[in-house]
């Protein structure tokens, strides 16, 4: 009926007519992106979930369903529990350190001084440069024999060469190293996030507080910090999610060692799932990230929303 009621139109113009409807054009513009993501993120994600409840390995690709057996085996493995603990320590220590340094750095970069642009450019480097390449540079800095840190310590007479620390060879020092590197990589991002937040605070709010007699600390912690919290929360989501799931620093720097002391979830999932070919257990290990990530992301998003209202 509709076709009869309409004036006779060439197919091309009917096509155009469709595009002039906002919702049709909207879905047409959005479809490729959504399809891509559904096919190559959504589908693999479901596949990962299925792997984790199957007996699939690279050498015996079977789809046999085994329920939660893989998860039970993993949880009973002390190596895995240690990995889980390492991951939490690595994530929270490096993000906390990064955030504190970021706040301090932003505070410094907020003041005008000659050469500020160059300083900012240099400070951004750790975050911009590919982390795999920066990690290689750190590996050289922490080298067991030619470490520049040790050279300085020896030259300053603090330690002698025989007792110079073996940075990547001792469990607690190796953990410290990966935390430092990740904090080093994250804090320029934190600085930038803080700066974006602080410059967005309207000047009249700060002026009003000054008139009302607020001092430096009061202005900082009762006015500026609460106002920039939503932006900081976004930054923290990125920081926590990417640290919690990271494997490149550990893979390149310590290879999980010494003796599993720096093994983290992403690395363990790679070792089991790809290097050893035990896909089902690897997938189960990786899926342990999911609940933590969901809690962090949902918590922060809710927090941001509440602030807005």
């Amino acid at each position: 009926m509709v076709a009869i009621a309409e004036p006779i139109a060439k197919p091309a113009s009917r096509f155009r007519f469709l595009f002039d409807r906002r919702e049709v054009l909207g879905s047409f513009l959005m479809a490729p992106a959504i399809l891509y993501v559904l096919l190559l993120v959504g589908l693999p994600f479901l596949l990962a979930v299925y792997y984790s409840v199957s007996a699939y390995t690279l050498y015996n690709p079977t789809w046999r369903f085994v329920g939660l057996e893989n998860f039970e085996q993993i949880v009973q493995n002390p190596v895995f529990l240690r990995t889980l603990g390492n991951t939490f320590l690595f994530t929270f220590a490096s993000n906390f350190l990064g955030l504190v340094m970021g706040k301090f750095g932003a505070f410094l970069l907020l003041q005008p001084f000659p050469g500020r642009k160059i300083v900012r450019a240099l400070v951004i480097l750790p975050w911009a440069v590919p982390i795999a390449l920066a990690t290689i540079a750190w590996e050289w800095i922490f080298d067991s024999l030619y470490s520049v840190i040790n050279w300085t310590l020896i030259a300053a007479g603090i330690v002698t060469r025989p007792d110079a620390p073996n940075w990547l060879g001792s469990p607690s020092l190796a953990m410290l190293c990966i935390i430092i590197i990740n904090a080093w990589r994250f804090f320029p991002f934190a600085i930038v996030i803080f700066l974006a937040g602080i410059t967005a605070v309207p000047q009249d709010v700060i002026d009003a507080a000054t008139v009302d007699g607020a001092g430096f600390w009061r202005k900082n912690y009762q006015i500026i910090v609460p106002m920039i919290l939503p932006i900081v929360a976004i930054g923290l989501i990125f920081g926590i999610v990417f640290t919690f799931t990271d494997l490149s620093i550990v893979f390149l720097l310590t290879n999980g060692g010494p003796a599993g002391a720096t093994s983290v979830l992403g690395f363990e999932g790679f070792q089991v799932g790809i290097a050893s070919g035990d896909v089902s257990h690897g997938a189960a290990i990786s899926l342990f990230m999911l609940p933590v990530l969901l809690i962090v992301v949902i918590g922060m998003l809710r927090f941001i929303r509440q602030r807005e209202i």
């Binding site: 959005m30 480097l125 440069v129 999932g269």
Partner: protein, 281 residues
């Protein structure tokens, strides 16, 4: 007098703090630079002062890198991958970002958050199933697998980024074009796209840098040397067993880092307004 002393003390401690930050951030890169120009006999002598050249600087490591390794090939691979991923990302993410920005009501907001969450799905969760998909498509051990897979994070990221830009662009511009006789689609092509060229440029730059920074997928899917992108090639191929070619490693890392560092510094402000603007509005 006392005030002058207090002021000087404050100034000094301020510049001291700045110097500390710059040192912490830049030292590893200084270290790359100086290592890559040092002769091996200078590098591996613990009695030399490591912070400067004891022997004359040399281009030996760079020569080795370009003549004896596949470094040139890796650079070319990275460039090819980057260009293809940029093309895929721009044609999919920019329209999607526009569409999301103009969508009103709850469904638009929910889709926007959905896209944001997709960006947060980590490679370390997806590499196992994706390696199977890559193998099924016959792309294992080929850099084209990375062209296929990298858009899984660049599309969500750039959709989010461009959504922020389009939200800041007043819809009245398109409405004016429609009143003047443009179709809705025509208004998007003829008005919105030309006006959003700076946003598209930002998308191009950050897609490219994201592909250069990626490591996990490349490590998982590509193992033959001639197919590696530069980040993976430098990090894995210049180490033979236990022997680290430190001079070459640092030279390679330096060359691959420079373009990304420059791009970030130029486009930083747009990047920040993009990632925060979509969420905090």
């Amino acid at each position: 007098m006392q005030r002058i002393i207090a002021l000087t003390a404050r100034r000094t401690s301020f510049y001291f703090a700045i110097a500390f930050f710059v040192f912490v951030c830049a030292f590893p890169f200084y270290w790359m630079l100086i290592t890559s120009f040092k002769a091996n006999s200078d590098l591996y002598n613990v009695t030399n002062i490591p912070f400067w050249f004891t022997e004359a600087p040399t281009l030996e490591h760079f020569r080795y890198l370009f003549e004896q390794t596949l470094f040139g090939r890796w650079l070319l691979n990275s460039f090819t991958i980057g260009v293809c991923v940029v093309a895929i990302t721009v044609v999919t993410a920019v329209p999607a970002g526009y569409s999301l920005a103009r969508m009103t009501g709850r469904s638009g907001e929910a889709l926007g958050i959905g896209i944001f969450l997709t960006y947060l799905v980590p490679p370390s969760l997806l590499f196992l199933p994706l390696s199977r998909i890559v193998a099924d498509l016959g792309l294992q051990n080929s850099m084209w697998s990375l062209v296929l897979v990298y858009p899984t994070f660049t599309i969500p990221f750039c959709t989010w980024l461009s959504m922020g830009f389009f939200k800041a662009m007043p819809p009245e511009i398109e409405e004016a074009a429609i009143v003047d006789g443009c179709s809705l689609f025509g208004a998007f092509i003829r008005m919105t796209i030309p006006l959003s060229l700076p946003a598209i440029l930002t998308v191009v730059i950050f897609t490219f840098t994201l592909t250069l920074q990626e490591f996990v997928y490349a490590l998982t899917f590509v193992s033959s040397s001639s197919q590696k992108p530069v980040t993976l090639g430098v990090a894995t191929d210049l180490i033979r067993g236990d022997v680290f070619y430190w001079g070459e490693l640092m030279a390679g890392a330096l060359i691959a880092s420079i373009p990304v560092a420059i791009a970030y510094n130029i486009f930083l402000d747009r990047f920040i307004s993009g990632i925060t603007g979509g969420a905090v509005k």
